[in-house]
């Protein structure tokens, strides 16, 4: 028997993407990634997707075709059927709401509420790469998709989440869509715990033609990386790589309800959730 999972995520022009920055194929792919990544974050398997799409009257059909091309390619990669949805005309701008349904063996969904003091905190991959691509856009440059893969072609981490579920490793999990500081705060809030993370341990993405490390700020607060953050009981064996994705321990869960960043000079600093506001500012 299975539990059914359902997630919904809005992708809005001017908030989550810009037409002059993001080709339609990328917008479609990222739209579905948002939903799939939520299913992965619960240890689930995807089943079907539903798309509600509101489009302005003057949008070229070519844009719509590109959007579906990108979305359907990712859907096929993860065996997710686009099973329906709704279309409407928007007065202005593109609004796409993706609904993904999935399933997980009954009672085995990994929740945000399962972290306990003493648990260790892990992340997959490297963080901040998507935010770094946005800086490039804002600086008037044209970041190349190949140099910023987590921004232009994010892959939901199903192989990792399946392993964690099957081996019963993760006590809580979330995907890093809003940024580490915000998403870790969600885990802490729903588990009623706090956390200490080590600045030196946070895996920062390498981006651009020179594979430069992203800033600590981007790794801490940048959203849309779609990596996983999970906790595991101390002493539980967690591989350093799962399905060829690096797994890094970045800290541990504490009893006090605050998130503390331990800097490289060993100073302790309160880490505030800097809610990912996308790029509306």
């Amino acid at each position: 028997m299975f539990d059914v999972l359902i997630t919904t995520d809005f992708s809005i022009e001017g908030v989550h993407f810009r037409r002059e920055w993001h080709p339609p194929e990328i917008v479609g792919r990222r739209c579905l990634t948002r939903g799939l990544s939520d299913i992965a974050a619960m240890g689930g398997e995807p089943a079907t997707a539903f798309l509600s799409l509101a489009l302005p009257r003057k949008l070229p059909q070519k844009w719509v075709d590109g959007f579906f091309k990108g979305l359907l390619a990712l859907a096929e990669e993860f065996k997710t059927a686009l099973a329906g949805g709704d279309t409407a005309q928007s007065p202005d701008g593109i609004y796409a709401d993706i609904v993904v349904s999935g399933y997980v063996p009954r009672g085995r969904a990994v929740l945000r509420s399962g972290a306990k003091p003493g648990d260790e905190i892990y992340v997959t991959g490297a963080l901040g790469g998507s935010a770094a691509a946005l800086h490039e856009f804002f600086a008037g440059r044209r970041p190349k998709p190949l140099n910023f893969p987590r921004h232009f072609a994010p892959v939901p981490r199903f192989a990792v989440s399946r392993f964690l579920r099957e081996k019963r490793i993760a006590t809580s999990m979330i995907d890093l869509s809003d940024g580490l500081s915000t998403d870790l705060a969600h885990i802490c809030e729903e588990s009623g715990v706090g956390a200490e993370i080590l600045e030196a341990s946070i895996p920062r993405a390498r981006v651009g033609p020179k594979h430069s490390l992203v800033s600590l700020e981007d790794a801490l607060h940048g959203g849309d990386d779609y990596e996983l953050l999970f906790t595991a009981r101390s002493g539980k064996h967690v591989p350093t790589q799962i399905a060829r994705v690096p797994i890094t321990c970045i800290g541990r869960i504490t009893r006090q309800e605050a998130i503390v960043l331990i800097e490289e000079n060993d100073r302790h600093k309160r880490l505030r959730a800097q809610g990912w506001e996308h790029f509306t500012k």
Copy 2:
């Protein structure tokens, strides 16, 4: 065992409602009605709802509170839990995408594709009342909610659809959200059939302070009534009332792939689907 049903429906400011016309409680209620009515149209029972809401920065909190008040009152009436969703900031205007999940005994969902030549065509209630309310608004008047109940407080027809499912009466079904001409065309297209409907049989809503009959045009093409249209095998007993809702036979399914309106003078006229464009024009 059950089959899971999932529906998604966008409600967009300026397309499905106007802030200066519709109080927020009505917008919230109508938003959820769209989803619930889709579940009813499949003969299903509602389970949970998910709401994706994109709101402009300057929207008063009072508006949001009213929206949720209207939505949650209807959710409670039909024992539907609002189980989650997503919120985002929109550059402009209110966008609400409602997702409703429901269930139906395995294999018993009523589809759009089950109509056969010879089947009789029925509708619940009376049609065109919602469109008539919009005419009032466009004419600069303020229609009173009590005089236009299907516009201001539509009720999804679960009691009827449950009866039809349990008695195995309906061979196909759809809810009248886009208007009779468009929604009947959906049934015909997916069933690979045509239809003949009798002008004199179409139940027209009575609206306004004088309970005036709406125009034939509104009854044929007006959307957002959320009544049900269904087909039943000829000879099957169909009550004239189900759960105190009038049930009217308006015509029959034919072999030829066209929809024909038989006028009161017995002239046959091809009925075109006049796609409900809401009020963008």
